[in-house]
Structures are given as structure tokens and as C-alpha cells.
Assembly symmetry: C2
Homo-oligomer: 370 residues x 2
Amino acid sequence: MPGPTGDADRRSGSPLGLHRVLEPAGVLPQAAWRLDPSPRIWPDEVLVRVERLNLDAASFRQLREASSGDPAAMKASVLEIVASRGKMHNPVTGSGGMLTGVVEEAGPDSPLGLKPGDAIATLVSLSLTPLVITDGLASWDGTSEQVPCEGHAILFGASIAAPLPADLPAALALAVLDVCGAPALTHRVVEAADRPVVAILGAAGKSGSLSAAAARKAGARRIIGVVPRQAEAAALRAARTAGGQARLAGQARLADEVVIADARDPVAVAAAVRRAGGPADVTVVCVDVPGCEGGAILCTAQGGTVIFFSMATSFTAAALGAEGAAADVTMLIGNGYVPGHAQLALDLIRTEPGVRGLFDARIDVPASGS
Amino acid sequence: MPGPTGDADRRSGSPLGLHRVLEPAGVLPQAAWRLDPSPRIWPDEVLVRVERLNLDAASFRQLREASSGDPAAMKASVLEIVASRGKMHNPVTGSGGMLTGVVEEAGPDSPLGLKPGDAIATLVSLSLTPLVITDGLASWDGTSEQVPCEGHAILFGASIAAPLPADLPAALALAVLDVCGAPALTHRVVEAADRPVVAILGAAGKSGSLSAAAARKAGARRIIGVVPRQAEAAALRAARTAGGQARLAGQARLADEVVIADARDPVAVAAAVRRAGGPADVTVVCVDVPGCEGGAILCTAQGGTVIFFSMATSFTAAALGAEGAAADVTMLIGNGYVPGHAQLALDLIRTEPGVRGLFDARIDVPASGS
């Protein structure tokens, strides 16, 4: 594998970024402990001036809990991770997030079609994106998933990036694009099923509300939203959908049924979904806390499918939990890449007022829109 | 939730064993830190006199590495885990294994159809099976996954158990049943695809060789076995299959192609599978080491499927690794339960001489057969 030094090596970067891996040798950048985040790009790379990080929900929650909510400690944790790993890859959760910024330099062999000055969002995880932070996160108050930030990042040849849409505030676009794999895969799975009953754990959140809208668009017969608290239930009940079967049937709710249950309590989740018209044929896990595998499995019908998008999902808890319950359910690891995912998610946020409202309530949209 | 004491509580055990969970309250037994392994059974439970544990491959490897291969330290680790958790649930890997034993007592409401004296294997993970070890593992030499053991275990109403077949040595049956979910799910996925190219990482191992035979039976067009060492390659090349397409085509190898690559090296795995006729439409991960997600993803065609059976799989490494490589692959968590899994696996070991040979070479079959 080419090392990060020497001009001879620079003629042949790997589209997957293998040439940026410092340790252990030979693994993919996501699996690496440490990357080389040098701003000197290989011919097929792109250098991005970073404006904003979006920490993924599981990572943000873990960092907040580990620092007891102290913003200074949060800030120190993020800086320490990025300095030691060359990427914002939370070592506890294994997850990252994504970022927005402006293209500073595009290598001559980059296939991404970007040019200096383009405002973009990355659609690959921060857990594999070389990153340097130069402002000590001075503008971040340590209380939100979105982190204003100065520094630079690197895109590889195979990294996916999306131009930031001009018609949406940058903070909103970033939040939507961060979770755009969830509605895309939900749409695919629901469309392939026969008008399934769909349960969404964490349906009032970002990936959850987008997935609900995608399930509706893909022909779900009934959508059951599971949320942890009364306030979220009220917000979700108030959320309207603009299209799909619901509209034809004279209903206009984003979720047909909204139930309150702690997603970590399997018996409660299963009972709540059953009372709301379950079990589900397709269950979508969009929560950010560990321990939700059992509830997702128990609320799903035999022969049904569970899609795990939560980065707090335990592989063994899912595999052995289903076995232990004799649950013949297909369990999918929520792949963050589905062709067309960014466009689908942006279209949903533009056309679904209920989803937009739930996002707006969760995001501090800055006045500048950047 | 009923507590473990008081006769009033004993009238209504939960088929999932929730009444045995000591901490944290309300979770499934698999997710629990500690279970109540008391031999006094609830009306729908079964008490089993344990004869042999089969530690799962990922757990065994982790325990061996943590104890630097010292058998006494291995023994102490297993005893400590079971004493503190009330189950053999490796806290590092999150996995367990299964066991064989003889039914001692069946509660009047047990739906399992077992009676005292029946020799059985459990088909639910040790990570959720209440267990007490009473002999200090005096008969285990600390060097094999199979652990001769005296003690007792509990089966819940929904726990699945299989009678030990009379025509196979108990150690062999235990090894087969331990991994029987893998061939069953592989069969289902391969059958649903259109004569796919199948790559199996760890194809000379137990779950790998059974999965290869199942893929053949389900109509795979080509089976590529990936193994780490020359000795395993030779053993796999020598393994013959009894039926399926291979026989019709005049070929009789269990794997059509056998390639050597370290499953933790994604570039090497992808290149080896490509040279052997890949990329794969279906990739089956049957290795027991961490860090194989990248290779499995890269050796799979766009639109293909990866089935992860390894208990060393990282959920985030799979989800974010696929995203980072822009790989549109369906990734399945290998559910250990598929209806008919035990029968399928036992039929394969009986009818496929190549699989049987690979198993026999890996198992110390005791003379007594028990």
C-alpha cells in the first residue's frame, strides 16, 4: 500500500482512501484507528473547507452522557478524538456523522465533478473522512449535534457528496442528508412488501419522520409511530402528510397511530404496537439509545423484516435475541448508501409539511442559513 | 414483572424467560446482565442436566487470546462469567454458544414436548440460558470449544431444543446444531436469488462448510471458498459434494474455487474473489475474527447480499463501511433461528461427505459419543 509520503506514491491514490490509512495497515478508512488528514491532496481527492459538522445521534448522546452534559468537556472530547484519529470517529459508538463545507481544491483525477467554491455536504460518514479542526471549536456551544467548525476535510474518489440545495437552510439540509439512507432503504423494503403494516421506533425524530413519509409514499397500509414521551407523541399526532394512501383515504396524518413506549422495554413495545394494529410486517429502528433490539424483534410478525438504522444497535443482541425468541424475522443492517437517497430525502422535506415541522422543531436554524 | 420468589408468581412464567431476568429489569434474557439460574422451575420451564457446552467460535477465540492460551485461565474465565451472570454470556463478544444435556424435569405447562431422560441440544444461545456449573469444569482441558461440564440449565417455554440424533456422535451433533442457522439462512437467500455466485469467507470451517453445501443445494451457480491458510485450502479442495448442480455438471467439489486471503484484508479478499469468478452476488461471512466487514462488502456485487454470521461482526463497521464505499449491498444480521434449521443441517452432515470430513477433522469426537 502506498504510504502518505513521497511524490511517486501520489500518482495512484485509492478511490476508497486506503492510502490515507496510517494504522492498522491494509484496512478500510472506516475500520482504521488513525488516518492521515494532511491537506495535500492526491490526484483523485477533493479538499474541503469545513463549515459545520453534524455528529450522529448515537455519538452525540454518548459524548453528552460521558461528559455529564458539560459543554467544555464535550468540546474537549471531540477535539481529542479528531486530533488522535485524524477523523471524528467516536471510539465508543463506532459512528461519526457528516459535514458541510466549501470545496477548496479538486484534484485533476477526481470523479466527483466538484469545483472550488461549491457548497457541499458529505454523504460518507465522518468515521472515514480525514479531518483537521483549526479553530478549537470556538463557535460551538457544546449543546447541539450541529457543530460550527473551521478546518479541512478530504473526500476520496469514491466518496459521495451532494451539493447543498439553494432552497433550504444549510442546517436543515445537513440534518436531512445525515439520515438520508433511512428513508431510502425504508422505501425500498416497504415497496417490495405487499402494503405492509410498518412500525417506526423513534418516529418523531429525524430519520424516523423521514422514514414514515417514505413508508407512506411506498404504499404502507398502516404506519405505527412509537415514541418515548407525551410531547413527542403530540408533535407526531399533529404532523400531517401531503400525499400517498393516507390522502386518498381522507386521512392526512404522517403516522396512522402514535403510541408511547420506551423502546428499550421489549414487552411494552410489543404490546403497544399490537394494540395499534400490529404486529408490524416491517419495523424500522430510528432511535439513538442502546438496547432496542428486543422490542423491535418482538413487535414484528413472523416472516417480517426489521431495519436497524440506529448506530447504537448491537449485532449480537439482534442475532441472538431473535434466535432466543424463535423469531423468524429478516434483520437488515441499515446501509447508509442507497442510490438516489439524497434526492429522495430532500424531496420529502420539501413536500411533506409534517416532516418539515418536526425537523424545524429540532434544529436551531441559524439566521444566516449556513 | 414477577420476581423470582413467591409461589404466587410461579403460576405465570413468561415464555421468553422474562421472569428469570434479575438485572436490568424488563429486558429480554439475552440483553440482561444477570439471570436467576435457580433449578426450581416455573410451570412452563424445563430443567436440563448439562453434559457439554459448545462455546461459540468468536467467544472461544476471545477467551483464548485474553488468557494467552493458558487453559487454567480459560477455565477460570468461564467459571467467573457463569457465576456472575447466571449464563455463559461472554461480556466482550456478547455471544455464547449452546449445550447438550439430559432432561431432568419438565414443567406441566412446558410446550416443548420433552420428558425426563431425553437427550437434547439447545438451539437458543447460551447468552440467554440460565446455567449453573457444579464441577468446576474439572473434565475440561481448556483447549477446545466443547466443554464437558456438570451442572444444570433452564429452558423457557419459547426456547427451542432438538433431540440429539441417535445416529451421530454427540460432539458432532452439538457442533452441527451450534451453527445450524447459517446453512438455513444461506439456503433461503441463495434460493431467492437467480443462481447466484456465492462467496463464503471461512468456507473450511463449521458454519462455512455447511453453508457451502446449503448454497449448492439451493442452486448456486458458483461457490468461491475463501480461507486464510494453505492447509485449509487443501482440505477444502479435497472436500467433495454429493449432489446439486455440481454433480450434474460433472464436478463434485464442495467449493468450485478455493482462494487464500486474510478475511481482514479487504483489498486482498476482493481481488481473490474477483480472480475466482466474482464479484459475489451473495457473500456469507463465517469467520470468527473481528474486522471482516470491509472485505465482505468489497467482494460483493452492487445489488448483492452479505449475510453476517460471525459473532465478531461490528454493526457500525458494516453500516458505515458500505456507505463509505458507496456499496449498494443488502446486509443481513445472521438470525440463528430459521424454521427447519436443525433438520437441514443434520441432513447435510449425513449426506455430504465433504462437510462431514471437515467437521471430523475439527472435532475431538470422544469414544463414548456423549
